[in-house]
Symmetry: C2
Subunit: 95 residues, 2 copies
DNA sequence: ACAGCTTACGTCAAACGTAATAATT
DNA sequence: AATTATTACGTTTGACGTAAGCTGT
């Protein structure tokens, strides 16, 4: 289970369609379709309603989406802490 | 970047050595060695001091470890919410 | 010798893009 | 026609175990 799949899911929800999200992310729509299928399989929940005009969160999807945002926020926090600590270890301090 | 790598890191820290963690997890020590190498590369921080009697968190590692525990907690929360919502959608309610 | 971590090598699963398909506006 | 999501196919990336190596107790 890759972190990237969660980030894909977030962008898809915010973009409202796989195509728009794919253009934002620079990947192909099929990548996002499969990534979200995998997420739904692994969590055992249908996250999105697929219409012909895009996608929309299901009720369950709304609950999960909120948690996934928290997950991604912490992940970005970890990466930034890594950058900060990594450069600090080499003597560079940004104020 | 896989979620599993974060979980590996956590167990390694708690076990105190790659070998013990490998036995706990049912994987080989090389898997854990590489997983932690990847984590350190991707975050740009040295997380563990490798001794001949095991491993120990570096100062930076301690900071990151605390955040990674939060990440894993949310991840497990998401999985449990998935189970709960998934079975609820099929009409099964556990009280 | 034993316990520890690491690395080279081969294998297998999984992620991806391309391209084709189907449905809707 | 244009835009939507999905799926089959082949390629490539990457995660893993085995086995060998090196170090310190």
């Amino acid at each position: 289970m890759r972190l990237r799949g969660f980030e894909y899911f977030r962008i898809v929800v915010e973009a409202g369609s796989l195509g728009r999200a794919a253009r934002c992310l620079g990947v192909s729509p099929s990548t996002l379709s499969r990534a979200i299928d995998n997420l739904e399989d692994e969590l055992g929940v249908t996250l999105l309603e697929r219409n012909k005009r895009g996608v929309r969160l299901t009720c369950s999807g709304r609950v999960i989406f909120s948690k996934i945002r928290d997950l991604i926020d912490i992940f970005h926090d970890i990466k930034m802490a890594g950058q900060s600590l990594g450069s600090a270890a080499r003597g560079i301090i940004n104020i």
